[in-house]
Symmetry: C2
Subunit: 362 residues, 2 copies
């Protein structure tokens, strides 16, 4: 017999990218950082007092929150630590939306949002991005008209890599009447010359919450640690009501704090990713793959005819031990999302692509 | 401005027991195991490959699930690993209940259930326990009449320590028309001579799910690791739909697997807790504290007049560096819930109690 509530029966859960646990596969499919975490993480792990695990963790990860405050000039009650960025997204849906309420996002966008909406019984309203993946100027007005209560904008954008400037975000925040969640999972990879700073938005507006994660920028996808910086009134109900009481564990708190203390190390990985991003983008363009500018650690490339349909190319790459992501969705079907690997992985990708293209056009 | 949904505005979040992070306080307030985790946990931590953290964890903790299968003779699709037992409880509410639906429990019961119900917008129906904290025989019928869709029974019971036998649970499962969640957070501390085995219920009934946790029995409250064993049809929607995709992290999966592999060690802690439980219960009874039988790692004791009102005694103990739990709730106001500590902690508790009683009655 089925006991799940009716609204769940026909829904489909989130489809995650393949996660083979071997170390041979070249994984360019789930936007992991190709470089290991800071040596400080190793040290924190080695020094961790296992006996202390018999006790509950500090419930709100205050040591980590205080570090965020120090780095970003915010107060502790503007910060919430979460079990990965995913938990923060879930909390936003369960905190700000009742069943039947409407959330908004762009089309395309992160494929987890509609799953969370379905779980919460919410409706989705989307606005298509323009051809260059930028947002139209009137989207706040449109979402207001649609009575959207939570607007999720991933910026830099996934799966396209496009960056919306802070000024445009500020205009949206000012006009939009609901909660604006800016999902900054990839923000660490933005070119520092762009001077993209958004924390000020959380002081200026009472409806802005930023999502950050250590998964990508700090090479800790396996640890599940993210956080929110937001207006107090947005953080408070997630912190004191909807969050599981002990949502982050003691080991994760310790390792996350160690990693986030060592931004200097993390920055070296961001720089290498940006440098490889440029190199890979150029190499792909030379082979006919259209690659729009990306401020993330991935490229959304349009597969040229010579390389065959995108879904097929994905399968061929997999046969050669390289995983990339294909989305069977409007505007994305002819594209692949390719995570920036290290130089060796990127070289291998290009080499395998050359072989595939040569074989197809022989 | 307030953006949280209307249903949350007046609710209060879960009140957790105090979690001082110093090691001097004698913490008998949150039912932690007084003994450290297995040496295997230490080994797993030391051997953990930090570089692997750059990748996402195995999404469903399959190594851990397979271990559960091996120990309990169940199939993998009957097992779900969760970020602490709390996550499983939340998933049960979000998976089986729509807003407006009714969940049931006993009065008293674990104080997290009504919080989860409030978050999900559900109503609560409770049945009072009898004076000896046992359940009436007709509770399934009562909950059916009340159209309860999820019934949460904590067994052994919190905060009383009472154990309901498997046979009574089976009768309830057979008669009850919704999902029966048996919260077995404390089951490891049950006297083995009672031959209390419940996994068979998950094979016999398609509406039974068991909650287990490593927090208490495996001394890992700080790690946040729990799991469900249940009928396939109950596990499936939580596993594939309502759960966060990467709900348990790679370190926690590794340490939890190490701990759960070493039940032999854990059992030595259970035996010591049971032995101390008997000793503490006797010592408290000798001082006029009524202590009903407990099959958990805590005692719910009625504070005698000579020791003053329970809330006051709690404060006095705290002044002396000993934390215990007091619930300001019907039938519990004159009682304290005292976690079984190690022999030294229990001796200290008795000694401080003697001093307090002597001072009051001087």
């Amino acid at each position: 017999m089925t006991y799940e509530r009716p609204g769940l029966r026909t829904m489909r859960g989130y489809t995650w990218g393949e996660q083979p646990q071997d170390s041979r596969t070249i994984k360019l499919n789930t936007n992991e950082n190709p470089y290991p975490p800071s040596p400080q993480v190793q040290r924190a792990l080695r020094e961790f007092d296992v006996a202390s695990l018999r006790r509950y963790p500090q419930p709100t990860a205050d040591a980590f929150r205080d570090l965020v405050c120090e780095k970003h000039g915010v107060e502790r009650d503007q910060v919430l630590a979460t079990n990965g960025g995913d938990e923060l997204l879930r909390l936003a849906f369960t905190t700000y939306l009742d069943a039947g309420d409407v959330y908004g996002t762009t089309e395309p966008s992160y494929s987890l949002y509609p799953v969370l909406a379905a779980i919460q019984g919410c409706r989705e309203v989307t606005v298509p991005l323009r051809d260059d993946w930028s947002m139209a100027d009137d989207i706040a007005a449109y979402f207001n008209t649609s009575n959207v209560k939570l607007l999720c904008l991933v910026n830099p954008h996934a799966p396209t890599g496009h960056l919306t400037a802070t000024e445009q975000l500020a205009r949206i925040a000012a006009e939009f009447r609901g909660v604006l969640l800016i999902d900054e999972a990839y923000v660490d990879f933005v070119d520092p010359n762009l001077h993209h700073h958004t924390v000020g938005l959380t002081r200026e507006f009472d409806n802005v919450v930023l999502l950050r994660t250590l998964s990508k920028g700090y090479s800790l996808a396996g640890l599940r640690f993210g956080f929110a910086i937001g207006a107090r009134n947005l953080i408070e109900p997630m912190l004191t009501k909807t969050r599981d009481s002990y949502n982050t564990d003691a080991v994760a708190q310790s390792l996350a704090t160690a990693a986030y203390s060592d931004t200097e190390y993390a920055r070296t990985t961001w720089e290498r990713v940006r440098s490889e991003r440029q190199r890979l983008s150029t190499a792909l363009a030379a082979r006919g793959f259209a690659t729009p500018p990306s401020q993330t650690n991935f490229l959304l490339v349009t597969v040229p005819e010579a390389a065959g349909p995108a879904a097929e190319l994905r399968t061929q790459l997999k046969t050669n031990g390289i995983l990339v992501r294909h989305f069977d969705a409007p505007r994305l079907r002819d594209k692949l999302r390719i995570t920036i690997g290290d130089s060796q992985q990127n070289d291998m990708l290009i080499s395998v692509l050359d072989d595939i293209i040569a074989a197809r056009n022989r």
